[in-house]
Symmetry: C2
Subunit: 159 residues, 2 copies
DNA sequence: CTTGACCCTGGACCATGGTCCAACCGGCAT
DNA sequence: ATGCCGGTTGGACCATGGTCCAGGGTCAAG
């Protein structure tokens, strides 16, 4: 049955060869069969697996979550609730990001609206804001981080 | 006039000592004066600068953009338009992210709504979707990336 | 037989914004 | 003089998801 080499798998899935090897290293793909020369040999189920991972990535799942989803899919005792839980966490995460980001956008928009380009920088309200804004530091602690820079120490937020 | 050492500056700005040294290495802070023993000596303008950078970060600006904004602020020939341009680019970037992310959230929410937890994973519509969805790959090329994983090769989007 | 396209491995490197480390020195109190 | 806190340096390391490279081996075509 149609075995293919890594380049073929990669092309079929629309990723680079290195990505395939990376997924293997990360434990997302099984260690494939090899030819006598050591070439990796894949089959349709591997392609399907890579496709699954790519789909998950496109929906914002991390590789780690993709790994969990694959494990759940392979389980015959798990029920859909586990998948739903991961998905709900991802939704909550997306919503938190959306809120933070739209707050930032609103703030930037306000500042941009106030800024008449044709003045010297010394009269720029955006710079003035950046320069002055340090009092509201304390009470703004709820939205302290910027954008999507989830701090390395912000663990557990998603999954 | 009140000079302070790195730990004092860091505490006053609410960051770590290493962050101050990092900003210095990145060219965001000037190389400070030193005591005979080599200790860095800062003054109020340095604190103000760190505060500016932190404010910019909180609004989603990168350190590189913060550097640009500081340069503009220091210029006596630049006009506010340059600052506005950076800000408008940031807004556009935020809006693009918001759209992608809310599309993803909607998709996830749809899937979650369809999923009755109490079935075996083999009947999970979320997994089914992830498994099947590879045909729409081609025409979905407009929103190909996930979430905030701006690909390393996506340069020029912001700034 | 040679060329070119493919494959192998292990490891370095990219961006981002820091954080932490060892190994050392300075300065003050007890 | 001993402890302790804080300063110095250069460099490694964190997460994330790959990407690229050198220095080989393999395989089919011409």
């Amino acid at each position: 049955m149609g075995n293919f080499k890594i380049g073929e798998l990669a092309a079929a899935a629309g990723v680079g060869r290195d990505t395939i090897r990376y997924y293997e290293r990360m434990g997302l793909l099984r260690e494939p069969a090899r030819t006598a020369a050591g070439y990796r040999l894949y089959d349709a189920t591997d392609l399907e697996r890579v496709n699954f991972i790519r789909s998950a990535r496109e929906l914002g799942f991390t590789l780690e979550q993709a790994r969990q989803l694959l494990a759940l899919r392979a389980s015959d005792t798990a029920h859909a609730q586990a998948v739903l839980d991961i998905t709900l966490a991802k939704i909550a995460d997306a919503e938190a990001r959306l809120e933070r980001l739209s707050d930032i956008r609103d703030m930037l928009r306000m500042l941009a609206d106030e800024c008449p380009g044709e003045v010297p920088v010394s009269d720029c309200p955006i710079l003035a804001f950046l320069t002055a804004r340090r009092k509201d530091q304390q009470h703004n602690k709820k939205h302290q981080a910027a954008q999507d820079e989830r701090s390395p120490r912000a663990k557990g937020v998603l999954s």
